[in-house]
Amino acid sequence: MSPLKIKKGATSHSAYDLRPTFSDKEERHTLAVLVENEPGVLSRVIGLFAGRGYNIDSLTVAEVDHLGHRSRITIVTTGTPQIIVQIKAQLGRFVDVHAVNDLTVEGPSVERELALFKVSGLGNDRIEAIRLADIFRASVVDSTLESFVFEITGTPEKIDAFADLMRPLGLQEIARTGVAALSRGAVA
């Protein structure tokens, strides 16, 4: 039997990455991009996605190191493995980008998103809404006699599920932050 032909360096955590490099199957990846906190950086990153026709499913950005002048952009994107590799390489080219990490392939990671839900209703709908919010560990941050604003934190899937449940109960408006993500474990 001849040995399997496996490309080295496909991931930093696994010796065996058996996915073909040029598969047509679209994958969802979460990228953490550490950038210089300069005007125009976000525009460059967004311009790259628009100009080269890549998808942005979610994008969050904020300063994470005031003294070091660093911001972290978390991008959730979908594409074929080849496109994902291209996106990372293209991001890595920018002068203001310090690091690009693919949290999806570089080992386990946690993803969280925060959302605010405005739900209006009376009677049983109102009671059901607050009961479900309790199950989802959402908290009430504003209330009137006929409405609630819920705050919920979780994975994007959990927030999607909560939205599906609130819709028939008088859902008025949603605000979502987009995904923030970190690798698990002790080191960055």
């Binding site: 490099t21 040029f22 125009g40 525009s43 460059r44 311009g47 390489a89 002068v95 203001d96």
Partner: protein, 584 residues
């Protein structure tokens, strides 16, 4: 103790400290303080162009021919927007240039002030990096960093946008050595991958070097190492349009340019090779043709400084991220230390096959009758200028491809052409930039009449600075390449592809005080070219050529390399199918 000075003075000081001797520019309200400083010094020559696009192309020509970064200086608003084509051109061809733009004062930014535009916003997608400098104290450091970024890694254009109040204000000058940068791209390749390539070279039966502009951008050492590697292995070598000159056209192993209008033997070798060694090229669509039929049986190695070029369109087996010169040095060392082995017998057979392809003689033509064939014009230009210290620029179109086919380049940095963006109007201002960098050399712009007219105003620049650039115009009174595609793809309906109301080029030259030469008879051609060469000053050479000559060989869009068209035939019109016709 750092010196205090105005922002305008800082700009000039930083240029001097970076070793700049020439700036191409055009003044305006928002750069008057910088022009005032230029007026008061003698270290830097300023070349007044006639349009800002010309300034950027001239800076590109200077950069490509000298290997040093080119500098352009333009004003705010229209000055900056006129620079955008040149910036995009430099980005596509990886040319290091620094473009300084004036901006309205910081307190007026965003107010739709006179000659205000969002320069950094407009130029963000067409630069490697750009800055809007809002504090004079930071200006010098940005200037120094700009030179570092433009010239390191994969080179490219950068823009520094400088508001007028920042130019007037006084601040502390930062010396170049005080500037810290985190931008330091990797230049050494991975030794394991380099060894893998060396091993592949030992066993390959049909190896081929496929080189590109990266060899030239890497510097003369890369070309030298490439020549050593080719000589030592005996492998054949072809190059893209951008890489011509890195290996000499007179070299034994040279197959000529490859690609859409490349040579038959080069394209056939690409298709049939079993080891393709891509050195500083990027699998551009002009090279690959149909992707799924591109060199189907080969193992592919790719040396590139830019990770995003690797595996972008063609999956490769041996990716090597690094600078061409550094990687070639290591590759040579590894291959030599392993015993300088090649599969001699098979490579010999491979050469027999290549020599059979060469017999097709794909560039042959017959000069008959009283009309000059463009191929003949370039063959004579080649013969009569070969021995000169010669630099060639081109515009874009048929003449560009013929120049690449019929002129031979012996050294790098001798061939300046707009490859990636395909900018008509590039060649004339580029030739001015080249001549500024090489005052005593013979600089020829091979042009088509339509391209040349796009930046003809620069004849004023050439005259003002007495730059003896030779404009060799192959005049077919057509947009030749457009016409050729309309013939092949659009039923010979020549929609807007002829040049009507052309000027009398001799009179046009004379109107600027330059020399004009008209040549229409093949019998007069040699004398006319000699007259051009012997004239000390700018020459406009109007060479009337065959109007309906097509450029061959040609890989039709959507076809693989081994289905080239060699010359006009009845089937030419049917060669391109509808799926190929959508490609450009």
């Amino acid at each position: 103790m750092s010196k205090s000075m105005t922002g305008a003075r800082m700009v000039v000081q930083a240029l001097i400290d970076q070793g700049v001797d020439t700036v191409f520019g055009y003044p305006g309200g928002a750069v008057l303080p910088i022009y005032d400083e230029i007026f008061q010094q003698n270290s830097i020559k300023h070349v007044l162009v006639r349009h800002e696009q010309g300034a950027v192309h001239a800076a590109e020509g200077y950069a490509r021919s000298t290997g040093k970064p080119g500098v352009a200086l333009v004003t705010s608003g229209p000055g900056a927007t006129n620079a955008v084509t040149g910036l995009t051109d430099a980005l596509m061809d990886s040319i290091p240039i620094i473009v300084l733009t004036g901006q309205v004062p910081t307190f007026m930014i965003g107010s739709d002030a006179f000659q205000e535009c969002d320069t950094v916003g407009i130029t963000r997608p067409c630069t490697k990096h750009n800055w809007l400098v809002k504090e004079t104290d930071k200006l010098a450091a940005v200037m120094h960093e700009a030179f570092h970024i433009a010239t390191s890694g994969r080179p490219g254009p950068v823009v520094i946008d400088i508001p007028k109040d920042v130019q007037f204000a006084t601040g502390k000058y930062t010396e170049a050595r005080q500037v810290e940068t985190h931008y330091n791209p990797q230049v050494k390749g991975d030794m394991e991958m380099i060894t893998e390539l060396a091993i592949a070279m030992e066993t390959a039966k049909r190896p081929l070097f496929y080189t590109g502009g990266g060899v030239i951008n890497s510097g003369p050492a890369a070309s030298q190492l490439l020549r050593e590697l080719v000589a030592a292995t005996g492998f054949p070598i072809t190059s893209t349009l951008m890489g011509l000159g890195s290996y000499p056209a007179s070299g034994d192993n040279w197959l000529g340019m490859l690609g859409m209008h490349g040579l038959y033997e080069a394209n056939m070798a690409m298709h049939d090779c079993d080891l393709m060694i891509n050195i500083g090229a990027r699998f551009d669509d002009r090279i690959t043709g149909r992707l799924d039929a591109f060199s189907p049986g080969s193992k592919k190695a790719h040396i590139d400084i830019d990770a995003s070029s690797i595996n972008k369109v063609i999956p490769v087996d041996i990716p090597i991220l690094g600078d061409v010169a550094h990687v070639l040095e290591d590759l040579l060392n590894v291959w030599k230390s392993r015993g300088r082995k090649t599969n001699k017998e098979s490579v010999q057979k491979w050469w027999h096959q290549i020599n059979d392809w060469r017999k097709v003689d794909c560039l042959s033509f017959e000069q008959q009758g009283k009309v000059i064939k463009p191929q003949y014009a370039l063959s004579r230009l080649e013969a009569l200028t070969k021995k000169h210290d010669r630099y060639i620029t081109t515009e874009v179109g048929q003449h560009q491809m013929w120049a690449a086919q019929y002129l031979g380049f012996e050294d790098p940095n001798r061939w300046m052409t707009s490859g990636g963006l395909g900018t008509m109007g590039y060649g004339f201002p580029a030739s001015i930039g080249v001549q500024m960098g090489h005052p005593d050399a013979l600089v020829i712009n091979v042009a088509g009449e339509a391209s040349w007219l796009m930046n003809m105003q620069e004849l004023g620049t050439a005259m003002q600075y007495n730059l003896p650039v030779k404009q060799f115009i192959l005049n077919n009174e057509r947009l030749g390449m457009v016409r050729q595609w309309q013939e092949l793809l659009h039923g010979e309906r020549y929609s807007s592809s002829w040049s009507e109301s052309l000027p009398d080029f001799v009179k046009l030259a004379e109107a600027f005080g330059a020399k004009g030469i008209l040549c229409s008879d093949p019998a007069d051609l040699d004398d006319a070219i000699m007259e051009m060469l012997n004239h000390d000053g700018p020459v406009l050479f109007d060479c009337l050529v065959e109007k309906h000559e097509n450029c061959y060989p040609m890989i039709p869009s959507g076809k693989p390399h081994n289905e080239m068209l060699l010359r006009d035939s009845v089937d030419v019109g049917k060669a391109i199918k509808s799926d190929g016709a959508v490609m450009v």
